[in-house]
């Protein structure tokens, strides 16, 4: 249901920064944004480079989604105002040395620039942006119904860790197996993106993500060390400093979030606050985050 633009656009709702234990997750559904003048308004928020990149996408739907992705990033970050209002148009971005996008706060003279981290992910039917403070964040979303063209186990054997292949091969129902494969994919992607060092820094087959026994929705990251000492035994180290959450979004997508646990938050599970948005039109707090 499209709210008519003749009612006027609302301004962005200002928000407090997430606490150390929290990730804020914002998402937009492209199929809910059809109004041409709204899209035009969004395009006015983008930098010339971003506009060029949107235009490079082949096909109208891809262009629209690219536009919405940049709009989501800019408007989301702009909401977290500290002292003064931030114009989403004025935000600048840079990349870390591995290519991970970050906010470039240099154009603000404000000394209290929020130590804000963000990461974005999209599918053709849902675009999400995760926000944290002080610690890096990686997110990945995937359509639950996404079909894998290859045999799932063959795919896993090629790219996942041995323990993950073992886990997947115990699942007899092919549909459940496919879903678990996708959940693992989102978790692994989220980790690599949180790490922010590119894929070569953490090839998928060098680490395992598994459910923490006896918990719901908590996952552990374990790395298999290639270094052997005397025997052929692989040493496995579990890393407490990376926290994961896996959610179901909009009944249609899996979303994985990975953040670094800098211990200052006091430990404990990640708290995720989810909001659905159509920037300048409406925001909806999703009160139940279904942890998987």
């Amino acid at each position: 249901m499209q709210r008519s633009l003749s009612m006027g656009l609302t301004s962005l709702l200002p928000l407090k920064l997430p606490s150390r234990m929290e990730t804020h997750l914002w998402y937009i559904r492209p199929d809910e944004v059809k109004c041409a003048s709204l899209l035009k308004h969004y395009s006015q928020l983008l930098s010339p480079t971003e506009k060029d990149r949107v235009l490079q996408m082949r096909g109208d739907e891809l262009k629209k989604n690219a536009l919405l992705a940049r709009t989501l990033v800019r408007t989301t970050i702009a909401r977290y105002q500290t002292n003064s209002e931030v114009d989403p148009r004025s935000l600048m971005f840079k990349k870390n040395k591995y290519g991970k996008p970050e906010v470039d706060w240099q154009n603000y003279n404000n000394c209290n620039n929020p130590p804000l981290h963000f990461n974005i992910s999209h599918t053709d039917s849902l675009i999400a942006c995760g926000v944290t403070v002080h610690v890096p964040v990686g997110i990945d979303v995937e359509n639950k119904e996404r079909k894998i063209k290859h045999d799932v186990l063959a795919f896993a054997e090629r790219f996942y860790s041995a323990d993950e292949v073992k886990f997947l091969s115990t699942i007899l129902d092919p549909e459940v197996q496919r879903k678990e494969f996708i959940k693992l994919w989102t978790l692994k992607e989220a980790y690599v993106k949180a790490l922010g060092k590119g894929f070569s820094a953490a090839p998928f087959n060098t680490f395992t993500i598994q459910s923490k026994v006896g918990t719901e929705g908590c996952y552990n990251l374990c790395k298999t060390s290639e270094m052997t000492i005397s025997s052929l035994e692989k040493t496995e180290k579990c890393y407490e400093e990376w926290r994961f959450a896996l959610l179901e979004l909009a009944d249609s997508h899996y979303g994985a979030i990975c953040t670094e646990d800098d211990q200052a938050g006091g430990g404990g599970p990640m708290r995720v606050i989810i909001r659905k948005t159509i920037p300048f039109v409406e925001d909806e707090l999703i009160s139940e985050s279904k942890l998987l």
Binding site: G59, Y98, G99, K149, G196
Partner: protein, 136 residues
């Protein structure tokens, strides 16, 4: 999950392998392609073969990409087309690589798999790997 330059997979770690392939140009086995029989000098015949091999590889890669991404027949596609511009996310890229491995009977290292961003880069990598295989 499609990606933009700001998202997931586009943090390209420098790919020495691919840039090496692109820098050194292409070397080719001197296999005769019947349809390129030519009365010109050996050098230009080899050049013709090199272009033909590339075009053929590029076409095969394009077909695989079109299938994986379920592109419509009228989607404009060139060798320089970036996967991300066609709507590929990291899962798509990996599936494309697996399909290429099957098609060309090669093995692509994971770090290379994630660094392929265009059809041309994929074709170049394939040429490189096929060429390095021990003679059948």
């Amino acid at each position: 999950m499609a990606s933009l330059s700001t998202t997931s997979l586009s943090f390209k770690a420098p790919s020495t392998r691919i840039s090496q392939v692109l820098r050194k140009g292409s070397s080719f086995q001197s296999v005769a392609f019947g349809r390129f029989a030519s009365s010109t000098s050996k050098t230009s015949l080899r050049l013709q073969i090199s272009c033909a091999a590339k075009a053929e590889t590029v076409q095969k890669v394009s077909d695989i990409v079109k299938e994986q991404l379920a592109l419509t027949a009228d989607t404009p596609l060139t060798a320089e087309s970036k996967f991300t511009a066609l709507g590929a996310d990291s899962l798509d890229t990996v599936e494309i690589v697996m399909a290429l491995e099957e098609k060309f009977n090669i093995s692509v290292e994971e770090s290379d798999a994630q660094n392929i961003t265009t059809i041309q880069e994929a074709a170049d990598l394939i040429e490189d790997l096929v060429q390095k295989k021990p003679a059948a």
